[in-house]
Amino acid sequence: MTSSKKALSTKVSFASLTQNNLGTVRKLNSVLFPIKYSEKFYSEILLPEVEDFCKLSVCQYILSRLPEKPIALAVYYNDIPVGTICCRIETKDSINHLYLLTMGVLAPYRSLGIGSYTLDVILRAAATHTKPKIGRIYLHVQVSNDSAKQFYERHGFRESGIDEGYYKKITPSGAWVLERDIQPLESEQQD
């Protein structure tokens, strides 16, 4: 397991989003998600504050300097863009939440551990994040999407409720809210 993870880390890399690879993100979103995202979504993930984002290796560093703006990464497998992950920091009930906006991997590249690897990267980054400290991570999953729910549950998320009518243009319109507490860590730890 460790060796395969190591192999994966040499094949998977990340890039932050810029005006120039936005076309790739649009393309990915158009095939990954049933929702068409607005121009506002794309302009938000491109805000100048996140402009100097670049690679996985500096991901934590970036998080630590992050204002309340989304983090967005493109995921590459063997140098081909195969997925994206976007999140932003929100403050609710005086706890800082990391809200996972979107995450997806192209169908032929699933079950290779890419999604888990990507999520791990984000979780570890959140745990070592200090300014502000991240207390919780949460996200929405459409109630028909069991496999996605299971995926997040495998990574320590639990259902905290259902948001009825969360989706406006697709059915079923309900969404599970999944969340997970983040234990602040100084050093790396297995989760």
């Binding site: 395969s4 192999a7 994966l8 094949k11 810029t18 005006q19 120039n20 690879n21 936005l22 076309g23 790739t24 649009r26 393309k27 990915l28 095939v31 929702i35 068409k36 995202y37 607005s38 121009e39 506002k40 497998y77 063997n78 140098d79 081909i80 863009p81 195969v82 192209l106 032929p108 590249y109 290779l112 406006k168 243009k169």
Partner: protein, 910 residues
């Protein structure tokens, strides 16, 4: 000593002023110099030398016209002064008028009294006039004139004269190292290697205290070795190389090794040569040439291995591969060497390695092997086998003795690259629909790989759907906005589809933001690709003036390339970069045979011929040009979308903006000019403001044939293997009444391809024309033309029979059939007969390509054939994916549909 002419002699006050003037010019104190000159001229307004100096200074200050006027006047007033001729030469050189400049320099040297007569007596002769004693600057000045003359002679390739000039320079200043090298080079360029060698040897003997590891000395010694090699003195060359390499006098190790291996190989196959090449392979195992050298030392050519050598060659390659595990090169050579029987296992390994690694160029790499149809079939079988295995969930390389060493294989990407390879393969062998369907599965699998979209664009282009192709390539561009290659490709495809404005917007993403327009920046950056593609796009739309404008811009770039070498005639000698300088010279000698220049020379001369044959065409273009924007948007078949009013407004806005920018720049330039009149603008002709931005003057030029000839003439002295050059030369020459040039061009064409349809048409044309001439050309020319014509086309046969035979011989070749039809047209056959022949291209046994079909269609329209539409419809059916045979109305419908789907795709869910 000859006495100074009375009108040149100045009283002592003025004479010292004149000396000061020279000094001021040397130190570029232009304003003061001008004042000093005026002081002399106040008293002696007819003093030629002063007038010239003033003219020179004014030219430096940017007042070229006024300056030139004064210089010319000065020359007229004192025809025997070397100063005036030197000044005149400087000015002409600045105008890039090298021939005239050289003449002026020669005059200057002649009137320098002693110049060529007794080169060593300079010290005794007054420089400015015999009344002034300036011994030092005297010889210095002469050196300068001689050196400049040498540069001009090199530029003009007058090597006989160059040898004389260099010889004189060396005699004057034997202590200057570069004068020795200059003479050796001059002998070399003039073809006298033995003298060149003698000069070098003498020079090397005279050297003392050369510093260690001196790069200048190193390059010189390599040059010496090269001279010996060119003379065939291989053993001496080797000795010289080895001695100096050992003492580290030659510092360039790689060149030493390469030269050594080459010299040994030229001496004949042997162990020493083999070892030399082996050492090079160790240094750089990716250089294919080293492998060829290695095998040449064993008398083997990997490109044409005999059966006897095959197995030993393969063994050697395998050894080399083992020694250099990181390189692909020996394996690739194995694929070339191995016979079809043993090909499969080797190809299997090579393919899998490339596909797993994700090498995008794998197909291009292997394409040369397709010449062997057996190997081609095996490659197809193998890769299609991988595809099936992967689709069934197996690994592509499940061979029994292979233990799966990597449980986590790169299955998805391997599958993707397999599909990509197969799509290229099937497109290459003409199975387009299969290629497209494979590509669609690849895009469904991974829509984010730009290569897939560019390939789709290429396939659609091959099928004649230019609009669809540009959409596909643009999709690739959107995936990666910072990829300049994709940006340029996308713009090129837009130009091919006639979307000139859109292409300009795309290119503008990468050009300088403060440029007048993206096109202006690209022209300044000498982008041949852009100029040619946009020129072609304008030409297809019938805007011949704009096309000519772009083609002439290409010509200008090549003139600049030619001028650029001038500075190196001096620089390379000073810096001792001799070997690279020789490369430059031979590159410049072949400069005009560059494909980009050939393309633009042919295209532009075709337009000029068209304008000559049909002078009203220029008027038509200009009048429709103004109208077309408003009421005739779909004038030509490549033009897909007219400008909507909104786009029109945008275009106007853009033009206005560009104009504003230009004016601002002009103002800024004027301001700086006013600020410092003392600024040195140099002697080079600065580009003047373009007074013909839309090429109207080019279009309406009264002498289109002369312009065409000027474009073609640099090609005449080169051995060009592009037959269309000679066809164009013929077309222009015959219309200028130059029958000798015309028939010569056809003979050159015949050597290249005796059966070419264009040649066939021209041969008939010339014969017919020549027979109908009222008087044949005067005796020497007439006889030569007649005999040359007889060698092209036998006189024993009627032209009708000749044409008929040609058609029979090539009845399954569509462009030859078209050639025969055009032959009939020349012979004055009735239209229905011509139509009958040309519609034969639709017969199933004729191989009709898309391009030829377009040619046939436009020929039918040219002869106003009522059957043109019949042909169009048939082609529209044959080339079912193409859009070029659609009517403007059909295209408009297709475009609006396409835009409809695009709009739908943009429908946003908040």
């Amino acid at each position: 000593m000859t006495p100074t002419p009375a009108k040149r002699a100045l009283p002592s006050k003025e004479s010292s002023l004149f000396r000061e003037l020279l000094n001021l010019y040397e130190t570029r104190q232009l304003k003061k110099g001008q004042k000093t000159a005026d002081q002399i001229l106040k008293k002696f307004p007819e003093h030629g030398e002063t007038l010239c100096m003033k003219g020179l200074i004014l030219t430096h200050m940017g007042k070229r016209e006024e300056g030139l006027e004064l210089v010319k006047k000065g020359v007229r007033l004192d025809l025997t002064s070397h100063i005036v001729w030197h000044v005149f030469g400087l000015i002409q050189k600045g105008e890039k008028n090298y021939e005239e400049a050289l003449k002026s320099y020669t005059q200057a040297l002649r009137f320098d009294k002693v110049g060529f007569a007794c080169g060593l007596l300079f010290q005794d002769v007054g420089y400015l006039s015999s009344s002034h004693e300036r011994p030092d600057s005297n010889s210095l000045e002469n050196m300068n004139i001689l050196r400049d003359a040498a540069h001009l002679q090199t530029q003009l390739r007058l090597y006989d004269g160059l040898v004389d000039t260099r010889f004189l320079l060396l005699k004057l200043r034997p202590n200057l190292r570069q004068n020795w090298i200059g003479l050796a080079l001059a002998y070399h360029l003039n073809g006298n290697l033995a003298e060149s060698r003698r000069v070098l040897e003498q020079y090397e003997r005279s050297l003392k205290n050369v510093p260690d590891y001196d790069p200048e000395q190193s390059d010189l010694l390599l040059y010496h070795v090269k001279i010996l090699e060119d003379m065939g003195e291989l053993a001496e060359a080797l000795t010289l190389l080895d001695v100096n390499a050992k003492s580290r006098a030659i510092v360039d190790r790689v060149t030493v090794m390469e030269t050594r291996a080459r010299l040994l190989s030229r001496q004949g196959p042997g162990v020493e040569a083999e070892q030399a090449w082996r050492a090079l392979i160790q240094c750089n195992p990716d250089n294919t040439n080293y492998y060829y050298g290695f095998f040449s030392s064993k008398n083997i050519d990997p490109g044409a291995v005999t059966d006897g050598d095959r197995s030993s060659t393969l063994r050697l390659l395998q050894d080399l591969s083992m020694q250099n595990p990181r390189t692909f090169t020996p394996e690739r050579l194995e694929l070339l060497v191995v016979s079809a029987e043993g090909f499969r296992p080797l190809a299997n390994g090579y393919l899998l390695r490339g596909l797993k690694k994700g090498v995008p160029s794998l197909f291009v790499d292997l394409k040369p092997l397709y010449q062997d149809t057996q190997k081609r079939a095996i490659l197809e079988e193998l890769v299609d086998g991988y595809r099936r295995a992967l689709e069934e969930g197996r690994l592509p390389d499940e061979s029994p003795n292979d233990v799966v060493e990597e449980p986590e294989s790169d299955v998805p990407t391997t599958y993707l690259w397999t599909l990509y390879f197969l799509a290229q393969h099937f497109s290459h062998i003409g199975q387009h629909s299969r290629a497209l369907s494979l590509l669609s599965s690849a895009i469904a699998h991974t829509p984010t790989l730009p290569e897939l979209h560019t390939l789709r664009g290429r396939l659609l282009k091959r099928l004649g759907d230019l609009r669809g192709a540009s959409v596909a390539v643009n999709e690739a561009r959107l995936l990666d906005g910072q990829d300049r290659f994709l940006n340029t490709k996308s713009a090129k495809y837009k130009l091919r589809a006639g979307l000139i404005e859109e292409a300009s917007d795309t290119l503008g993403l990468f050009t300088k933001k403060d440029a007048v327009s993206p096109g202006a920046d690209l022209e300044e950056m000498q982008s041949l690709l852009y100029l040619i593609e946009e020129g072609n796009a304008h030409r297809r739309q019938g805007k011949l003036h704009l096309a000519l404008k772009k083609y002439h811009a290409v010509r200008k770039i090549f003139e600049e390339f030619e001028d650029d070498q001038y500075d190196f005639h001096g620089y390379s000698l000073r810096k001792f970069t001799i070997n690279i300088y020789l490369n430059l010279l031979s590159w410049e000698d072949r400069l005009w045979s560059h494909p980009a220049y050939i393309h633009c020379a042919i295209s532009a001369s075709q337009i000029y011929v068209q304008l000559f044959d049909n002078p009203s065409c220029a008027r038509d273009i200009l009048s429709t040009g103004k109208k077309s924007v408003l009421d005739n948007p779909n004038k030509t078949m490549f033009r897909h979308a007219g400008l909507s009013t909104e786009e029109e407004k945008k275009a106007k806005k853009r033009a206005k903006k560009a104009q504003q920018k230009q004016e601002e720049q002009k103002k800024a330039a004027a301001a700086t000019a006013a600020a410092s009149t003392n600024e040195d603008k140099g002697l080079d002709l600065t580009p003047q403001k373009d007074d013909d931005p839309d090429g109207i003057k080019l279009l309406t030029s009264p002498e289109p044939l002369e312009r065409a000839w000027k474009l073609l003439s640099p090609l005449l002295r080169l051995s060009i293997s592009n037959i269309h050059v000679w066809i164009s030369v013929y077309d222009v020459a015959v219309r200028r009444g130059k029958y000798l040039q015309a028939v010569r061009a056809l003979k050159r064409a015949k050597v290249l391809d005796a059966d070419h349809p264009e040649l066939h048409v021209r041969t008939l044309h010339l014969r017919k024309l020549y027979e109908s001439l009222p008087t044949s050309p005067s005796s020497p020319v007439g006889a030569i033309v007649t005999s040359a014509l007889d060698s092209l086309i036998t006189r024993e046969m009627t032209l009708e029979a000749y044409n008929g035979q040609y058609l029979q011989r090539h009845s399954d070749n569509a462009s030859a059939v078209l050639g025969a039809a055009r032959g009939l047209q020349i012979l004055g056959s009735p239209r229905d007969e011509i139509e009958g022949v040309v519609l034969g291209t639709l017969n199933p046994e004729v191989d009709l390509s898309l391009k030829t079909a377009l040619d046939v269609w436009s020929f039918l329209k040219d002869i106003s054939s009522p059957r043109a539409d019949e042909f169009r419809l048939a082609c529209d059916e044959n080339f079912d994916l193409s859009t070029v045979f659609k009517t403007p109305d059909q295209l408009a419908v297709m475009n609006s549909q396409q835009q409809g789907t695009l709009l739908k795709a943009q429908d946003v869910d908040d």
